[in-house]
């Protein structure tokens, strides 16, 4: 469900407007420039016109040779720069050298109050000209004095200007486009951060979408958090319900099993085998519920000293004939990186096994190990029981294998330990204890902060 890109839309939208605005600017500037040039040309022509008027009046004869303009452009034929003095009827009285052999077009507009008129027209060579004409009275004639200037020069200048303006404005446009791309990126950065925060939640690195967001994005982050929260509640509820259902089934299962155990009928046999299946299903679903609950273990840690001392106290009651030597580690012992009840489950099962098999002596110790950069928590549990041969130890470490089917208890203890050790990426090793029995070495990941947190 993906279509388009906010950044691209932003970019194209702003770039489109930019191009439009810049092109319009280029034309507007050119137009203004051309008008300025035209008006400057008109000024020049008017100046020449006044000069001609002055000379004509001074000479008193419109055909006099004295009448001239010093500008050499009026000497060159076909330059577009011409002047002429005509009678009202159009009879040519005097003209610039440039005009020799050609005729200026006549103007038809009426003269304004100052006795002037202006127009644009082409000469015989096709050169565009600005034409200014003035009417004066020199008794007995009405004279029309005309001065023209080439517009082609102006057009060339304007063309040059337009080209340069387009280049400069194009460069500005490219810069603005780059800037708008950067702005789009910059403006969308909070969305990227939000995406990463959500990703962290999905990866289980954090519980909620954390971080400070601008007020356009913050409500989205809040909504996501609330969604996560309600999701977590739903999951928690259904997990509890699975747990309650599974636990609730245990009592009727116990009843059925006990009832069938006494009898030797075929029905009893069926009931026994089916209740066994049901019991293992219940156990496996509880395992799954627990495993699912474990996806949220990130960031949790537990003090192994507290957990193990509590277990030692409990074992003292369950196995009163067993003496457990537990040397409390000092406060520098790192914490276990994971869930407290999982640590309790692993250590509890191992300790319980040690007490079950021992001949009265069990010892527990905990140390920190450092390998390269990783710190490991090593829990050693040993007893003076019969121990395991290397072969038995190997067998026990395989999943679902039990050595003695008759030992009381569900026998799931070690399986749970193995599974949890796998979940946490720890290790479980069996050795021979100095006490004579089994030495279990449980290695678990240590939390980074370690014992510093302990008050």
């Amino acid at each position: 469900m993906q279509k388009g890109s906010i950044a691209a839309s932003l970019f194209w939208l702003s770039a489109g407007w930019l191009i439009l605005a810049l092109v319009a600017t280029a034309f507007l500037l050119t137009e203004l420039y051309s008008r300025a040039l035209d008006s400057s040309l008109t000024d020049t022509l008017e100046f020449h016109l006044e000069t001609l008027v002055g000379q004509t009046l001074k000479a008193g004869d419109p055909a006099s040779d004295v009448i001239n303009i010093g500008d050499p452009r009026f000497e060159r034929p076909g330059s577009g720069w011409y002047w002429a003095i005509r009678t009202e009827g159009g009879q040519l009285l005097n003209l610039s050298n440039s005009l020799v052999g050609s005729v200026l077009p006549g103007l038809k507009d009426p003269f304004d109050v100052a006795g002037k008129r202006s127009a644009v027209a082409s000469d015989a060579f096709g050169t565009q000209m600005r034409i200014i004409e003035r009417e004066i009275s020199l008794y007995p004639n009405e004279l029309h004095i005309v001065v023209t200037g080439s517009l082609d020069e102006i057009f060339e200048l304007v063309d040059d200007f337009r080209g340069q303006a387009l280049i400069v404005l194009g460069a500005v446009g490219v810069m603005l486009a780059i800037m708008s791309a950067i702005v789009a990126r910059f403006a969308l950065r909070p969305i990227g951060r939000l995406r990463r925060a959500v990703e962290q939640v999905r990866e289980g690195e954090t519980q909620t979408v954390a971080g400070i967001f601008p007020h356009e994005v913050a409500p989205l982050a809040d909504e996501i958090n609330q969604l996560l929260n309600s999701n977590a509640q739903i999951i928690e509820r259904s997990r509890n319900q699975v747990g309650n259902l599974a636990h609730g089934l245990k009592t009727p299962l116990a009843v059925l099993r006990n009832e069938a155990q006494g009898a030797r009928t075929a029905l009893a046999k069926v009931v026994l085998s089916e209740t066994d299946k049901m019991a293992s299903m219940v156990a496996s679903y509880l395992d799954k519920a627990r495993a699912a609950a474990r996806t949220g273990i990130v960031g949790k840690k537990a003090d192994p000293t507290i957990v193990v001392s509590r277990l030692v106290r409990v074992m003292g009651k369950i196995h009163p004939n067993c003496t457990i030597a537990f040397r409390r580690p000092d406060a520098s012992l790192p914490w276990f990186r994971g869930d407290e009840s999982d640590l309790e489950e692993m250590a509890g099962n191992l300790l319980d096994n040690a007490c079950k098999w021992s001949k009265g002596q069990v010892a527990v110790s905990m140390v920190a190990e450092r390998k390269q950069d990783t710190r490991t928590l090593l829990i050693r549990i040993e007893d003076n029981g019969p121990g395991l041969t290397d072969e038995e130890a190997k067998k026990v470490l395989r999943r679902g294998v039990r050595l003695d089917e008759k030992t009381p208890g569900s026998g799931l203890g070690l399986d749970i330990v193995k599974e949890l050790v796998d979940v946490y990426g720890g290790s479980l090793q069996f050795r021979r204890s100095a006490l004579g029995g089994l030495l279990v070495e449980l290695r678990l990941p240590a939390a980074r902060l370690g014992g510093l947190v302990r008050a």
């Binding site: 609730g248 009840s341 569900s410």
Partner: protein, 218 residues
């Protein structure tokens, strides 16, 4: 030995009662927390089988309340929750042992036997008084290595005296601990059973302490 079973599941309650009765215990039953709490408060039990999930008052509250009131009888908790965190909570509430459902009945019997034995201060499964040996697990009695056949009532009586050997046990205490609450306690059966036991065991085994009760010497 008198046991209280507090379990709300009617069938499981009956099964526990039957199994424990077959094993030679006098058994009282309760089906909810309040009834169980009341019985444990007022009657002298040698052990209690207590379910955690009970109506009216949950098992752990019942247990904590007993312990607060100074009741020290051993308590075996029955529960569906079998994580160590649950077990720790149970033991910390004052339980002595813990069995997770679904359980094998033999396991409950074994745990109860061990609890009763420990409460009386015996470390091993065999209690010896002179030439008489009682195997707590099998309920077998031997005299000088020779097996002796006892009826269940006789065994109950001997077992209680053996568990508390060296102590003088009054007839009232015996009645209280050997019969459940529905038993007609006016009858003189204790004397009858002591008489029968004396015929099967060495003469000097069970002594009568005049005006106080009976005793098996250390």
């Amino acid at each position: 030995m008198r046991i209280l079973v507090v379990e709300d599941d009617v069938n499981l309650n009956r099964q526990l009662k039957e199994a424990l009765t077959d094993a030679g215990y006098a058994v009282d039953v309760a089906f909810d927390g309040e009834e169980g709490h009341f019985l444990g408060d007022t009657e002298p039990y040698d052990a209690v089988v207590l379910d955690i999930g009970l109506p009216q008052m949950d098992g752990l509250s019942v247990l904590e309340s007993w312990r607060r009131e100074g009741k020290a009888m051993p308590v075996l908790l029955l529960t569906a929750r079998d994580r160590w965190s649950d077990k720790v909570q149970g033991i910390d509430s004052g339980a002595d042992d813990y069995v997770a459902k679904p359980f094998h009945m033999e396991e409950v019997l074994a745990r109860i036997r061990a609890l009763v034995r420990r409460a009386a201060g015996h470390a091993s499964n065999e209690i010896v008084a002179g030439s008489v040996r009682l195997d707590v697990r099998s309920g077998k009695v031997t005299v000088d290595g020779q097996s002796v056949k006892l009826t269940s009532h006789e065994l109950r009586l001997l077992s209680y005296l053996m568990h508390h050997k060296g102590k003088v046990i009054s007839r009232t205490e015996l009645t209280e601990h050997l019969y459940d609450q529905d038993f007609d306690r006016d009858s003189n059966t204790i004397e009858v059973f002591v008489g029968r036991l004396r015929k099967k065991l060495p003469e000097e085994c069970i002594q009568t302490v005049r005006g106080l009760g009976y005793q098996i010497a250390e």
